[in-house]
Subunit: 347 residues, 2 copies
């Protein structure tokens, strides 16, 4: 049986057995309040502490969320058994068919997170996905596991526009790679540039387009390539607090996903654009606005940035009060970013 089916079945028994025994079922869910989210230095990521919150079906105040949660688990079971997937939005609307009421999608999203905590499985394993996709391109062969495509292989260079990282690719198995590294880039423009300049060939890289903070499915696929094919991961973002933090979430995770295991890549390396790069490569800059400066202050107090190297990046940004996009290398010509910058950083 599928891991997710097992987890859902065991959850079902935890609810059903008390009813058979003529008592009210209760569920203990790892608590996601701020004071129960702790940073684990040894694994360098956020995890949940020992505190549990109890949902007691005999407590009238808990009945609503208890029912919603039970329905979400039943819905996930249906998805898995029918080899289907659902977007978070779809799940919200589907509830109506069963007389389950959610005030809005935030409420149903929260219940899905409860279900993740209870089962210890990410929503993607339960067939539930957000709508956004990022893309991938490079010399890797994957084998699909989704229904209708089981066993079919795909070469990630099949489409020169890249492939979207959707439910099918996220659950596919990496089987073979001529690539030596994973190179994740923030913007779609840079991703296209690196494909058409054959930078993937030159640096033996699998290219991943993050599109800002990447969906968890993308982080999971990168981690999968990292662990099963032993490819080191490099991250190339805009030179600003937001770009830097994209890299940080890939290495050390986020408080939001503290209940999800196997999502971080501690050894992933942020190659830039660092504040030093902005000076060294004479990039055109923009002044930081108040939101940028406020964000730097927050990051300087963030436990994930305790390391002196990261603190010095923050310090330099604060001194410079300016930022640069990864597209800014184009000022030196179309191929400069590959011929000079990435060659300096990767070769």
């Amino acid at each position: 049986m599928h891991d997710a089916e097992k987890a859902l079945k065991s959850l079902g028994i935890r609810i059903l057995q008390p009813i058979i025994d003529e008592t009210f079922p209760t569920l203990k869910i790892p608590d996601r309040k701020t004071n129960n989210i702790v940073f684990d230095d040894t694994i360098n990521q956020y995890v949940l502490g020992p505190s549990l919150s109890v949902r007691d079906s005999s407590n009238v105040k808990h009945v609503r969320s208890f029912t919603q949660l039970t329905w979400a688990a039943a819905f996930a079971k249906e998805l898995i058994q029918a080899s289907r997937t659902s977007s978070l939005r779809d799940l919200y609307y589907s509830a109506e068919a069963f007389g389950i009421n959610f005030n809005n999608q935030s409420e149903s999203d929260r219940i899905v997170t409860d279900l993740e905590c209870l089962t210890g499985l990410p929503r993607e394993s339960l067939g539930i996905y957000p709508e956004e996709h990022s893309s991938i391109y490079g010399k890797v062969k994957m084998r699909y596991t989704v229904s209708g495509y089981e066993g079919k292989e795909i070469d990630l260079t099949v489409s020169p526009d890249g492939l979207p990282i959707g439910p099918a690719l996220m659950t596919a198995e990496p089987i073979d790679s001529e690539a030596k590294i994973v190179l994740a880039v923030e913007s779609g423009g840079m991703f296209s540039r690196l494909i058409e300049t054959r930078a993937w060939d030159r640096f033996s890289a699998v290219l991943v387009q993050l599109g800002g903070q990447p969906p968890r499915a993308t982080r999971r696929l990168m981690r999968n390539l990292h662990t099963s094919l032993e490819l080191p991961v490099y991250i190339f973002t805009d030179g600003d607090p937001w770009g830097m933090h994209i890299a940080k979430v890939i290495t050390s995770g986020s408080a939001n996903a503290a209940h999800i295991k196997d999502l971080t890549i501690p050894s992933a390396k942020w190659i830039g654009v660092t504040p030093e790069d902005i000076t060294e490569y004479a990039l055109p800059t923009e002044s930081m606005n108040n939101a940028d400066l406020k964000r730097l202050d927050e990051l300087s107090r963030d436990v994930r940035y305790n390391d002196p190297v990261w603190q010095s990046h923050i310090h330099r940004f604060k001194q410079m009060r300016s930022k640069a996009e990864q597209q800014a290398f184009s000022r030196h010509g179309m191929d400069y970013v590959v011929d000079t910058y990435l060659s300096d950083k990767l070769l």
Copy 2:
């Protein structure tokens, strides 16, 4: 020689010849001011009127934009000759390498539009793309024309997550199709649902995910499938003024793109969600907000909506003052949208 190269060369001669003749070059650009954008009833789309605006290089006020335009043309020539593409953002940054100054990306985007008007070619033919992509999936074979992939064929069912409509797919040639229609859907969630329920097989449809108002490349690819493979086009959006207008722009174009030819599909059909569908299929609704109602007022006066059928949609929406998303069909169960709604509309 490539059409775009020819157009750029002819533009070059128009600039160079006067200089050789020792006079100042001038350029006449079709005027994009509101009063020169007219709706052509015979072809059912916006076109530019006869008014021209003159850029005179002997006029000091015109020198800046004249220079920017000349540079953009030179940059496009370089892209085409090197078989490269550039995002609009990249173009903005690339200008610095040549000492060309743009105050911001809006200014460089506007110059790219000038270049489209002058050459009569869409920016995509000049190698210039926006960053957004939509996706496609279905039983169609295309042959790539981009460098490195010339002559390679791709089956649009190769990836169960769909394929992004990027520079490579947009310029590929449709060579064969088992599909009988194009079915364009607004949201990524619906696109995934239709793939995994094999709706593409049931309705013999090529599925296109629009992702809101689609990029022009997506409209062009749909039109290409429509004209070269004779596939009729159906559009399935949210049931609100914004969704309805996505369909309208596909059929009749937009004022913004009045200078671009061969982009509309006059025979494309909006299947819904119509206001009647909301009642008939008992969909969960939300109340329209002020922005929705204001938009309906604008559309009721829009020349593209002169047809009585469209006016009656607007009228019904105004009466109902409510809207529904295409995901709302999920209230009747996961497969209802395919088994009932789309079957009613397409079979």
